[in-house]
Symmetry: D3
Subunit: 137 residues, 6 copies
Amino acid sequence: MMEITRREEFSAAHRLFNPDFSDEENEALYGKCANPHYHGHNYTVEVTLRGPVDPATGMTYNLADLKTAMRREIIDKVDHKNLNEDAAGFMKNRIPTAENIAISIWERLEEHIEAGLLHRVRLFENERNFVDYYGGR
Amino acid sequence: MMEITRREEFSAAHRLFNPDFSDEENEALYGKCANPHYHGHNYTVEVTLRGPVDPATGMTYNLADLKTAMRREIIDKVDHKNLNEDAAGFMKNRIPTAENIAISIWERLEEHIEAGLLHRVRLFENERNFVDYYGGR
Amino acid sequence: MMEITRREEFSAAHRLFNPDFSDEENEALYGKCANPHYHGHNYTVEVTLRGPVDPATGMTYNLADLKTAMRREIIDKVDHKNLNEDAAGFMKNRIPTAENIAISIWERLEEHIEAGLLHRVRLFENERNFVDYYGGR
Amino acid sequence: MMEITRREEFSAAHRLFNPDFSDEENEALYGKCANPHYHGHNYTVEVTLRGPVDPATGMTYNLADLKTAMRREIIDKVDHKNLNEDAAGFMKNRIPTAENIAISIWERLEEHIEAGLLHRVRLFENERNFVDYYGGR
Amino acid sequence: MMEITRREEFSAAHRLFNPDFSDEENEALYGKCANPHYHGHNYTVEVTLRGPVDPATGMTYNLADLKTAMRREIIDKVDHKNLNEDAAGFMKNRIPTAENIAISIWERLEEHIEAGLLHRVRLFENERNFVDYYGGR
Amino acid sequence: MMEITRREEFSAAHRLFNPDFSDEENEALYGKCANPHYHGHNYTVEVTLRGPVDPATGMTYNLADLKTAMRREIIDKVDHKNLNEDAAGFMKNRIPTAENIAISIWERLEEHIEAGLLHRVRLFENERNFVDYYGGR
């Protein structure tokens, strides 16, 4: 069993804020991430596919195809965007925490990668914080 | 002659936009960086001081003091902020390009570091782009 | 299922030496790591928690709380310390190999993180060597 | 249960080409990686062993021994070599994709590491692409 | 005075060999880098421009234009190529040492960047070796 | 004019302490770096040589020779050592600050590198702090 991983980056603004909570509750929960005028990150996303190696090609999946899918379905949708204001369809109105961005990336890729290959979405918010999502299993 | 350097990071939103230009001119000049809802970066700032080594201490400057000055005068002012909306005093209303952020950092530090020691401000916007400012010399 | 990870660093001295062995046996086993006057490393520790995402907050665990726990329970105990001489309580008198440091970190965090969330402690001794501990399971 | 990992690097030339396919098919499948005069990479290989910690030594496996095995059985065989022309025995005439290089490394190490300890071979072709092989299980 | 830097990568094969020397002399001079079947690297190139900041734009040079020039004049010429066999025009038949690759990059860019702006070409052969070229001054 | 740089690493323990000062003065000056039982770092040292490119070899200096000199004259002297206790000759009894370690490296290399080539010694104490020494000029 082989896993292959491709890494891409995007830069985006976001703000953590739940409109069901008061400003004080948002501040207590999200700290400086609740700042109303947004802040931003250079996000790094790693997508891992898992499957057997095709003996004819020596590949589990063509990394050039994975790169194309990641750029078209993820990077073009969120790079140099505001995740709260510009990416409603991509984020499905979820609060743009690292966890929710990873879920949104997974759901988007799932429509474009053959069933069962998608194994993990890892999202780095910066060099110190990252999340791993393995799908709703 | 010795140079000592300290590195810190901050995360901020920004937008490149000159109000003296039309929207079309801003778009032509700044591309996707002109997006009206902002985007953001994990910025890395390196501050370099230059001077002789004190034989009694073995140090050119106490790196603990440099760290304190950088956190108080730079990081606390811009981290998790919007450089267009929240940092008017710090940026002096300059367009927040990497070049102008470096100039603003230099001017701020110059008020707090002994004369002649400040040598270079390096600002990384991401892993691929950075600027070096050596003061108005 | 989501995993979230936070990274911190500390700098410490250590020496690998088992008092039950002769000097020759220690030298044969640990090589230059047995040097009697110690050597040291910039250690990097990554702590991973595993659990569901709270739909109200969009978070598995508040990374600010994880940062606080890691700094108070790990970094403050070992940073700029000698793991053989200054950290007897933390290390429980284990030989300070990377494996044993990871176990000590796990045991310390287990007292401060809600049951079942702690998933992995990764400890880098340098850029070339690291260990992963998943608890005594 | 503990996992320990050691990282090494090597630089090699390769070309992706299946002689059973036409030049057009190779070009369509492998793109610029099929260039007849080869290209090359700085590969990074991480080998992970998995097992219990020996209470007498505090180690799962002596990292000095793992380093020696990796240098003798991997790095000395492929560093500054052409994976298509100079490494027939190592690669067993497989097409030198990242997946197949990882399999070849696994098979080589399996002959030199105690049974059941070898857990994962991770191979980075560059900073953006890597594969993980867990053996034929 | 401001310096701005852009980083790009390419992967190429090369061999260090001077046809005026005997095989023994080449081996003595270049070691394993003289291997006849080539080896390869992931090269990183950083191009630095130096000049004043335009107050209207806040920029020394448009980094998007520098990126375009670097990709068209450097990366497209050498990526996934053999520097000895496929890049005769680019390398001007120089031996493809790191020093000579940096000189070739400088000469190429000089034809496309406004006079006096080009300040430094830094070329990393790997994470441990790099060269800096400041032009023929 | 060309500059070539080689990077190596070493791990060492140290303590910042001036015996001419009281314990309180050392604590005030060096903070936690004065801890009596030492702490340690993974140091990274970069040595830069500066000179013309030899047209016959395409090299300013043979990087293999620089690597050999750095390992023999620096790494073998300080790796897995205590800079206060085990390296009296190397450090010439200087307080082992980053500045003084860089000076000691410079003085050592100066005896083994052809006159005028040695340009800079850069020493990283960790990823956030580094010093550059250009000789006593």
